[in-house]
Symmetry: C2
C-alpha cells in the first residue's frame, strides 16, 4: 500500500517542521495515515471522507488517527505536502544522478511524470485541494507554497542547460513545465486517454529543448 523507501526519504522541510505529532513523516504510522488519507480524499472528496474511514483503510481505530491528527482539517492541510514531496524526491534523485546535459534535464522531467503517472491518487487529491482552497485560505497558501517548491526543483533540474539564457528564462520554463504536468494530469483524469497524454508529454519534452542553451 505504501512505498516505505520513498516515504523514508520524504522528509519534511525544516522550516515547516513544528512540534505537532502530525509533522513527523518519518514515523511510519503518520506516513501510513497520510497515504490512506490521500487515497480516501482523492476517491470521495474532503467533505464525504471521515477520519473513521481513513482509519478503517489501515485497520486502525478512529482514536488513533485522532491522536496524530487533531482534526480532519489538520490532515487535509498535511496530506498534499506529503504527497508532493514524494514526487519531488524522485526528481531530486534524478537530478543528483545526472551529468548536467539536456538529455539529463529531460530525463529528470520524464522521471517526475512517471512518478505522477504511477500514483493517480495525486491528481484527484490536487483537484480536491484546488477546489477546497477557495474556502480555506491556509490550504491555498500551502498549495501555492508547494507549487513554488516544485518549481524550484524543476529549475534546479534545468539550471545546467539554461545558464546562458539566464534565470528569468529558467523560471519561465519551470513554470511552464509544472503547468504542463498539472494540465496533462487533468486531461488524463477527465478523458482517460493515457497514450494521447503520454504522446503530448513526449512532444513537450522535445520542444522544451528548443528553449535550452544550444
Amino acid at each position: 500500500m505504501m512505498n516505505t523507501e520513498t516515504v523514508a526519504s520524504a522528509r519534511k522541510p525544516t522550516e515547516e517542521n513544528g512540534s505537532a505529532r502530525s509533522a513527523d513523516w518519518d514515523n511510519p504510522r503518520v506516513a501510513s495515515i497520510l497515504s490512506a488519507a490521500a487515497k480516501c480524499f482523492a476517491r470521495k472528496g474532503f467533505t464525504a471522507t471521515t477520519l473513521a474511514e481513513i482509519g478503517k483503510e489501515l485497520g486502525l481505530r478512529k482514536s488513533i488517527v485522532h491522536y496524530y491528527f487533531a482534526s480532519k482539517a489538520a490532515l487535509i492541510h498535511e496530506v498534499q505536502s506529503f504527497t508532493y514531496h514524494r514526487y519531488l524526491d524522485r526528481l531530486k534523485e534524478a537530478i543528483r544522478n545526472g551529468d548536467g546535459s539536456s538529455q539529463q534535464a529531460t530525463d529528470a522531467l520524464r522521471a517526475l511524470w512517471d512518478a505522477i503517472q504511477n500514483n493517480k491518487t495525486g491528481t484527484g487529491l490536487n483537484i480536491e485541494v484546488w477546489s477546497a482552497a477557495r474556502r480555506d485560505a491556509e490550504l491555498k497558501r500551502r498549495a501555492a507554497g508547494l507549487q513554488r517548491d516544485a518549481r524550484q526543483v524543476i529549475r534546479d533540474a534545468i539550471a545546467p542547460v539554461t545558464q546562458k539564457a539566464g534565470p528569468a528564462r529558467a523560471e519561465a520554463l519551470a513554470t511552464l513545465a509544472l503547468a504542463v504536468l498539472n494540465g496533462l494530469s487533468v486531461t488524463e483524469y477527465l478523458e482517460g486517454e493515457e497514450a494521447k497524454v503520454q504522446e503530448a508529454y513526449a512532444t513537450f519534452l522535445e520542444i522544451l529543448r528548443a528553449g535550452f542553451d544550444s
Copy 2:
C-alpha cells in the same frame, strides 16, 4: 454583466441541442442565468450555491430560474459548455481572420489565452467541475467532450503549420496547448502572479514554434 455580442455568437452545437428550454443560448434570459450561475459557482462552489442566489444576482425570482432550469444539476451540466464555447468562439474568430502562418497560429492561441485571462470565473468554474466530476458521471462525460471540442479548435488553428508533420503531431501539440492553458490557469488561481504566468505562456508560444513545420 454579460457581453451580449459574445453570447449571441455562442451557439450551442446542434448535436446537443435538445428541446429543453435551457438549451437555447440565444435566449438572452437563458444566457444571463448561465452567466450569473458561472459566477456564483466559481465563487462559492456547486454545493453552497442555491438557485435563489443565482436569481438574486439578476433580480429574478427563483421560480423564473426554475422555469428555465428544472434543477441545480441541469444548470451545473449546462454552465461549463456555455462558458467554454464563449472562449472557443474567440479562437474560431481569430482563425477565420488568419493567413495560415506560424504567426497567425500563435496569435490565435494568444487570443484564446487573453479570453481566459479576462474571465477569471472560468478557472474557478473548471476546478469546481473537475472536482464534482468524480461524483457525477454525466458531468465528467460533458467535461471530457468540451476538452475534445477545445482540442479540435486548437488543431484547426495550427493545421496550416503542421501539414508536413502530420495529424498525430498536430494532435499532440493541441493536447499540449490545452494542458498549458488549464495548467497555467491553475497556477494563476493559486499563486496570483499574473506576470510570471504571462511570461511562461509567451515562452510556451515561442518554443511551440519549434514544433511547427519550418
